[in-house]
Symmetry: C2
Subunit: 329 residues, 2 copies
């Protein structure tokens, strides 16, 4: 019988944690602040996170034995089968570590780990915008561009557990190099810094009206962020609107390729850049509809993620107790 | 219990047909010539193909009741769930027709149909280059570029049964339009006619030595075919070698995107253009290895199809009796 579960989301600056009941309803959140950059070494992480799990249960009067699973989402290379992590983007000092094993030694509760995008995908699939989907693609737009694939109602991780590298679809294969080794990758056009750099360049070229944006940043391009460019677009700034339409155009070109290959029923978009809302989504949808083969877009929906910053804890807890999301070998 | 099965491959000019035993070993082939362009209407097709199936069984002294399934691969839009076909590339006069139903009415044997690329994919997966694969991509290079996806050991058809449209991955999204509605699609660079047209253009530009090719075609560019360009390349023709390397470069760019999305263990390449062998494959492999994310190419194999023109009959018979290849809704 499935009991309670805990979902843990290791983010860029802090660790989110929540307790879920056997119906995967959120029971409580960990209310202590756990900052992920405090843990220079995995042992510290396991110790503090382990204590926080026990405390969270204590407050509800629950013994550890009522816990069926712990799920953890981490940003980096995660081997979801063996339970090892390496090259974590926010914990660069960690050596390759078996976090699954260390957590299980600490608490004696089955623990499952995966990368944050796969965990977010499970969260949205079971609790959010992907409810009921059989074939779907989840995409996070932020510093980078990540992807999670749902095929036949299950997470598809690929042969080396690295499927879904949407950010490294090449849009312009003879354009500038990407740090992945390819050229002209999507991430280089629509990642946070790419959006800011394109805006800077266009401000310099001065071909479109940018009075509203210039006022918002007080003419200091160092203050440019996707958020402020979005605010300017909402207020009618011509240059900022163009930037978001162009961003949607680039994303749409990559999605058209994904749609032609995978023919999903839904593409779910989350992450900071996705907050640009209608102006971005309209451009993405228009581009996909004009470029993907018509039959593949007939039933396609391109929608925003619904769980926001909670996708991680929901996804991690769900992953830990739903065997259909585990990887078999 | 599974008995005999028949695989039928409706090709551009003729219909291939073979009988398989319960171990899916080929027992006999239909030795009559059945030309697919003779059947202007589905009724004629069902009648003549039905007779041929009965004859093939008769010759082995087998009654119809020993037949567990009939599989048919057709080039065009096939609804593998309902059993309907439309827009068949070699039988343009057919209206939308339920071939599954008509065949089952004719012979009272469970009949399953799918498009030729999916059928070839099943053939290669079970009997050919894809044996034992869990996640693989099959690609046919010829007049067009087709794709079949194997995920978790099953055929993945997508939400509208149109997944795997590899030929319409956009390589140069601001280049010339494709008849699919997109721009710069792979098919426009590596389909038969694209290869011939590029060669014509390069012969005119006259930048590379093409003495061997020119002699082979007796200076008549109307005689250019991928086959003759391949022969010239094998004999050391500089221009022809360049054409094949460039073709491999284009294919490799599209495959790098597929590898980054799907992380398959194997890509299997069949069809006429794939006969260009080593010179083409070396260029494809080099391009994929330099462009796809390194972890995704670590175990990746890019190999030629093994069954050649028999992939269709093997795949169709297998499909008809192996339920794991059927589409569920």
């Amino acid at each position: 019988m499935i009991g309670y579960s805990v979902g843990i989301d290791v983010g860029a600056t802090s660790i989110k944690m929540a307790l879920f009941d056997s119906d995967l309803q959120l029971v409580s959140r960990n209310d202590e602040n756990i900052f992920s950059d405090k843990y220079q070494l995995p042992e510290g992480f396991v110790s503090v996170v382990g204590d926080a799990v026990v405390n969270m249960l204590d407050k509800k009067g629950l013994p550890l034995v009522d816990l069926s699973g712990i799920g953890i989402g981490l940003p980096g290379c995660v081997d979801s089968i063996n339970g090892t992590v390496r090259d974590l983007s926010n914990l660069p000092d960690w050596p390759e570590t078996n976090i699954k094993e260390q957590m299980e030694n600490r608490l004696d509760v089955p623990t499952f780990i995966d990368n944050d995008v796969n965990i977010m995908t499970i969260g949205e699939l079971v609790h959010g915008a992907g409810k009921g989907c059989v074939n779907a693609v989840c995409c996070t737009l932020g510093t980078g561009v990540g992807g999670g694939l749902v095929i036949g109602g299950k997470l598809y991780r690929g042969t080396n557990l690295c499927a879904g590298e949407i950010g490294h679809i090449s849009l312009f294969p003879e354009d500038e190099g990407c740090n992945c080794g390819n050229k002209g990758c999507l991430e280089n056009y629509v990642g946070n810094s790419a959006i800011v750099e394109r805006t800077k360049k266009m401000l310099k070229e001065n071909n479109l009206d940018s009075a509203i944006l210039s006022e918002l940043i007080q003419n200091d391009t160092g203050l440019l962020t996707p958020k402020i460019i979005y605010e300017a677009a909402v207020r009618g700034d011509e240059l900022s609107s163009f930037i978001w339409k162009q961003t949607g155009y680039y994303i749409g070109m990559a999605f058209a390729n994904i749609v032609n290959i995978l023919n999903p029923e839904k593409i779910i978009i989350g992450g900071g850049v996705a907050q640009a809302g209608k102006i971005l989504f309209d451009s993405i949808i228009e581009t996909v509809n004009s470029r993907a083969i018509p039959i593949a877009t007939r039933d396609l929906q391109i929608v925003p993620a619904q769980l926001g910053e909670d996708a991680g804890v929901y996804g991690a807890a769900t992953y830990s107790v739903r065997k259909n999301f585990h990887e078999e070998r």
